[in-house]
């Protein structure tokens, strides 16, 4: 009995203890194996990622303009490209989604905020022109075609098909229209009414607009830039697609569209006005030589010019261009996706992506980089404000003189001053960086604009008899004061 107790009694608990131990060991061992295998798989995945896998799922040709098809071969880039639908503000720019009731003519439920409401002086500046009706903050690439199709400017005046050059993926449609000849298709579409040309395009800017489908290398496809880059390089035989360096191309593909332009002659031929140089006052001098005007100011009768979005021209005057930093370096910086580095096809303000955009070169904290950029922009914004006030004063003075019965001859010099100053201010106002691309150049242009306004107001104060000579003295002030330097790409 005693023996039995000793042998059987403790026997069962020992078995239970053993079983418990076994279960515990199994659990610990399973957890450890689980962890190690998970790590092993992670290391495996990282190694695979580093091999830069490329799977050719579909065949891309020079006719493939749908980005979704390219996206099958390049899913990472495509995924980033699709994110340009974001609407995020920076301190001075960017868009925020403003809800609106869709109408039959304009089915958009969201638009960017109105710049005209934010600064009503713009309405006066552009009085009589389509931009005084509807002008909004820029949105991402994904919206370029819709925002152009549905802007109220379309109702204000019939727009030509030329506009589509930069608001849609036109490479394939141009070639189809020209029976394989890009330039011919371009010329035909320029002369179509916008609504008709609009039917020929489907996508906003797409892969094929910047990339060769065979090699994926960067390629210029826009006829406007293909022609104008010869002026930029001061070489009539320059062929951008064979002669430009890779780093140049990383800016040129953006410069295809982010430029000042006008529609030349009755053919409405899209032209980048770089014949005398690419600075604002050199472009102004060219427009004066051509006697070109965009519209007549509704309140003063001045022959006006509208500047578009000269990011490329302004960037060229700044320290980043001088240092060989391309558009893509800040707006499409290399980003890591798993073990791969690809250029960020989510094109956006560098201020929304400071670590990748700035810190690759600038060894300072994010907050410091943001503060630097915003201090440049705040200074610019203040100068722009001053210049806008001066322009309003000049417009008021011309209106008052007109109301008092001043004849056209007497208003000639003040009107020229308004034309020049308005263009110079518009140039840096339309430029989409709030002065950042070239702070000194922007300041110079605004100061030049203010001096031009001052001379216009002085001319108004002259007695009618003395007005005529004053007019000739004032008119060429803006273009003549700057040396015409040939535009040149700085050495990278």
């Amino acid at each position: 009995m005693g023996k039995n107790r000793r042998d059987e009694g403790p026997g069962r608990p020992r078995l239970v203890r053993l079983m418990t131990m076994m279960v515990l060991v199994a659990v610990v061992s399973a957890a450890a194996t689980f962890g190690v295998v998970a790590l092993l798989m992670n290391i495996f995945e990282r190694k695979v990622e580093a091999r830069n896998p490329f799977f050719r799922v579909v065949e891309l040709t020079d006719e493939t303009d749908s980005p979704a098809i390219w996206g099958k071969n390049f899913p990472l880039q495509y995924d980033l490209y699709k994110r340009t639908t974001d609407m995020q503000r920076t301190r001075f720019g960017g868009s925020e989604a403003v809800l609106r009731m869709p109408t039959e003519a304009d089915p958009r439920t969201e638009v960017a905020q109105s710049r005209l409401e934010a600064d009503p002086r713009l309405k006066t500046m552009w009085a009589g022109y389509a931009f005084s009706v509807d002008f909004r903050e820029e949105r991402g690439h994904a919206f370029m075609l819709d925002d152009q199709t549905f802007t109220e400017r379309q109702q204000f005046a019939k727009q030509p098909g030329t506009c589509i050059h930069c608001h849609a993926s036109v490479y394939v449609p141009y070639k189809k229209l020209g029976n394989g000849d890009l330039m011919k298709g371009f010329e035909i579409m320029n002369q179509m009414p916008y609504a008709e040309a609009r039917k020929l395009v489907t996508h906003p800017v797409s892969c094929i607009d910047c990339h060769d489908p065979e090699t994926m290398s960067l390629r210029i496809t826009r006829p406007g830039f293909l022609e104008a880059v010869k002026l930029y390089k001061n070489d009539p035989n320059y062929d951008v697609n064979t002669q430009a360096t890779r780093q140049e191309m990383r800016s040129f593909v953006c410069g295809q569209c982010h430029v000042e332009y006008y529609f030349k002659g009755p053919e409405k031929r899209l032209t980048y006005p770089w014949f005398d140089g690419i600075k604002a006052d050199q472009i102004l001098a060219y427009y004066d030589e051509q006697g070109f005007k965009d519209w007549v100011h509704a309140e003063t009768g001045a022959p006006m010019l509208k500047a578009q979005h000269p990011e490329f021209e302004m960037w060229n005057q700044g320290i980043h261009a001088r240092s060989g930093v391309a558009c893509a370096d800040c707006h499409m910086p290399y980003t890591r996706v798993g073990g791969l580095k690809i250029s960020d096809h989510h094109v956006r303000s560098p201020l929304l992506n400071i670590n990748n955009a700035c810190q690759k070169c600038h060894d300072f904290p994010e907050a410091e980089m943001k503060a630097r950029a915003e201090s440049i922009q705040a200074n610019f914004f203040s100068m722009r404000d001053t210049a806008m006030n001066s322009l309003m004063a000049l417009i008021d003075d011309i209106k008052a003189a007109k109301a008092a019965g001043a004849v056209d001859a007497r208003l000639e010099a003040p009107r020229q001053a308004q034309r020049h100053a308005s263009f110079l201010i518009d140039f840096v106002e339309a430029e989409n960086s709030t002065g950042f691309h070239a702070p000194h150049e922007a300041s110079r242009l605004l100061l030049l604009a203010n001096d031009t306004i001052r001379q216009g107001q002085l001319a108004l104060r002259e007695t009618p008899a003395a007005a005529a000579p004053a007019a000739t003295a004032v008119e060429p002030a803006a273009p003549a004061t700057t040396p015409a330097a040939p535009p040149a790409m700085p050495a990278p």
């Binding site: 042998d7 059987e8 026997g11 020992r14 078995l15 053993l18 131990m21 076994m22 060991v25 199994a26 610990v28 061992s29 450890a32 194996t33 190690v36 295998v37 790590l39 092993l40 992670n42 290391i43 495996f44 990282r46 990622e49 580093a50 980003t335 890591r336 798993g338 073990g339 670590n355 990748n356 810190q359 690759k360 060894d363």
Partner: protein, 156 residues
Amino acid sequence: MVGWIGTKTMGAFGVLLGLAFGSVAGVGSYTFIYAKGASYLTNDPAACANCHIMRNHFDAWAKSPHHAVAVCNDCHTPHNLFNKYLTKSLNGYHHSLAFTTGNFHEPIFITARNKAITEAACRHCHEDIVMAIDPPHAGGEAMSCIRCHKEVGHME
């Protein structure tokens, strides 16, 4: 009878225990070899670029003025054996954690501790030249070599 059960159970438990830890050890060893674990104990700069985060730095180093005279460890680890391997294990832990989870700041920045090691490494070789411009008193703020000479090791 009972004793026999006990012995058999103990034996089976021992085998299972051995299997359990053996398989962990086996998978662990394979992982260690697959991940080139041993290379991290060496001085070979290629080991630092095993994970591709350091690839650009490695490439830049190969083209830098120092590539003929210094490898990664000469500038990024202290010059005594204990501290060297302490630093290697600290960095190894932080780097593998960051790389595995993917949770790290890009572009990567050097930490204060590692920067101090590098500054000390500059002086290890160049002391004769720079002692004259270092602060003469203890506690004085030292000048940073790599603030200006940031490209000597690797530009990126």
